[in-house]
């Protein structure tokens, strides 16, 4: 087993570059992640203009507290895409290895499973950062060019929110190995995340029991906090309550996710599920 800081860093770097090479080799997937927030926002805005006519922006402001439709929607869309990347990459990574017939080699390598999952997550930190910089950065550059500090704080919120999200990714990773069919599964999970976390609307307009489910997801806090910081001049300090919740989720989800992953992986290795697809 690879041990020591240097050895672990070497493994992490190898997994990270492997993931990056995949994105470079197939740039279309990154292009889609970058374009989807813009396309979805255009769709929602077009439909909204049709429904609301000349008062669409006013009606929107009445319900959300801001008339800046573009920034409001793009923040939600960008965070949704980051969770999409994590679910698709971390959640499906091991299943992809399974399909390619390389999972056994990965698991036989003298590398800790946790290191393997962290390595996959590192690639996603780079990709989600790129999504955030391009999608949110470009939107703010055109609509609120002076909002550098708010942009930086929003980025910090994203980084904190990625930790519990990776925990969810670990959980999905084990789940996918156990139950197969990752693409249907990830499609549903991505859609449920988009719906529950208030991607294009405040979660307060959802029924109470749905709001409870929303409160369990880190992206809900990330989206809400980003909107507060960029559109309502709040700061990380003034939002300490929900930052604290995010930090708590950042401890709980990775721990639970890894435990579930290990359990499902152990079960799969006993029943021979690992090599089945």
């Amino acid at each position: 087993m690879v041990s020591g800081l240097r050895g672990t860093l070497g493994v992490l770097a190898a997994i990270f570059w492997k993931g990056m090479k995949h994105y470079v080799r197939y740039p279309g997937s990154l292009l889609i992640y970058l374009m989807l927030p813009f396309l979805f926002t255009m769709l929602i805005f077009g439909m909204g203009r049709f429904i609301g006519g000349g008062n669409a922006a006013l009606n929107f402001a009445t319900r959300t507290g801001t008339s800046n439709v573009l920034v409001y929607e793009m923040l939600g869309g960008a965070v949704w895409m980051t969770s999409w990347v994590v679910v698709e990459d971390v959640g499906v990574a091991l299943r992809d290895e399974q399909m390619k017939g390389t999972l056994e080699q990965n698991f036989l390598a003298p590398v800790n499973r946790f290191t393997l999952l962290i390595g996959i997550s590192l690639t996603d930190i780079a990709i989600t950062t790129a999504i955030f910089l391009v999608v949110v950065g470009a939107t703010l550059a055109f609509t609120m060019p002076g909002a550098y500090l708010a942009f930086f704080q929003a980025f910090l919120i994203l980084l904190i929110g990625l930790i519990p999200l990776f925990g969810l990714g670990f959980f999905f990773s084990g789940f996918v190995i156990k139950f197969k069919e990752p693409y249907i599964f990830t499609q549903m999970v991505n859609l449920i995340f988009g719906t529950l976390t208030g991607t294009y609307y405040p979660v307060t307009i959802l029924p109470f029991w749905v709001q409870f489910l929303s409160s369990l997801l880190p992206q809900t806090y990330v989206i809400s906090n980003m909107r507060q910081i960029i559109l309502a001049n709040q700061t990380l300090v003034s939002l300490y309550g929900s930052i604290f919740i995010l930090l708590a989720l950042a401890v709980v989800y990775p721990t639970l996710g890894y435990l579930v992953f290990k359990k499902l992986e152990k079960d799969a290795s006993v029943t021979g599920e690992l090599s089945k697809y």
Binding site: L31, I32, F50, G53, A57, M188, Y200, Y201, I205
Partner: protein, 278 residues
């Protein structure tokens, strides 16, 4: 040289048998993985809910009679489901065989490959209709009300035009899968372009003027316009008669062009040896 599919076509009965076999093959694959069905049943209404809630933020507090609101969007959602059949049904059929490593066997079989592709289209069209029906019922139960359909015969006719045109478009896409490795990127871009530009979810009049010309140059804009006109009695973009006549002509041209493009691309791929490259 004879066209690629020429030697396989020897009668309508045989075509019907091939079509049935292709349909059943795809249907069996579909029901073999219940997760696909569950995914369709869960994610289809959820997509509608996702967009509908987002759009309500822009709605006036009191509903006006200027738009059909819920019904308009729900038909838009149906038009999107139908187009997804084109892209991921017809278009993806070759790609699926390519990924599974069975494309060579598929093309070597003594059957017309277009019939085989149509079998997949038919399976997805049937399951799409079931999912649309299920979602309509579900939304009715949640208080959405009945879906109006003022001119069902005209709607069916317009739907037929849409399907004829979209099969032609899908055949072109099926051919492109033999040429392009980044098929998913292209299909996603075309799909989102369709959603935004064809007026599926909002009238093309909402689209700003330079871009509206692009919308008006896309045949699907008119197929959708005709279906919505038949369903909700909304005004048509062109005079109604002219739109039907041009719709028929364009749908037939799209079908023939798609057929020709698929044959040409396949022939070219055979020569280059790129049929099964993924």
């Amino acid at each position: 040289m004879l066209p690629v599919n020429y030697q396989n076509i020897d009668g309508l009965k045989r075509l019907a048998e091939e079509f049935k076999a292709a349909f059943m093959k795809d249907f069996r694959s579909y029901i073999r993985y219940p997760a696909w069905l569950i995914g369709d049943l869960v994610s289809t209404p959820l997509w509608f809910f996702f967009f509908a809630v987002g759009v309500t933020l822009f709605a006036p507090t009191t509903q006006t009679s200027e738009y059909h609101g819920f019904s308009f969007f729900f038909f838009g959602f149906i038009f999107i489901v139908l187009f997804s059949t084109t892209i991921w049904g017809v278009g993806q059929s070759v790609r699926n065989e390519q990924m599974a490593g069975t494309l060579e066997q598929f093309f070597l079989a003594p059957a017309n490959r277009l019939t085989l592709i149509m079998g997949r289209w038919a399976r997805i069209f049937v399951t799409d209709l079931l999912v649309v029906g299920y979602t309509t019922g579900l939304l009715y139960l949640f208080g959405g009300g009945p879906l109006p359909l003022y001119q069902p015969l005209l709607f069916t006719f317009a739907l037929g035009l849409f399907e004829v045109g979209s099969i032609g478009f899908g055949l072109l896409f099926a051919g492109l899968t033999m040429k392009l490795k980044s098929y998913n990127t292209l299909s996603n871009l075309v799909f989102f372009g369709y959603m935004i530009l064809t007026g599926a979810l909002f009238p093309v009049t909402v689209i700003p003027m330079p871009f509206r010309y692009v919308s008006l140059a896309i045949p699907f804009t008119y197929f959708i316009d005709l279906m919505r006109h038949a369903a909700l009695l909304t005004p048509t973009i062109l005079p109604e008669g002219l739109e039907y006549v041009s719709g028929i002509l364009v749908a037939l041209i799209m079908l023939l062009a798609g057929f020709a493009a698929f044959n040409w691309i396949e022939q070219d791929a055979r020569v280059r040896g790129s049929i099964a490259t993924n």
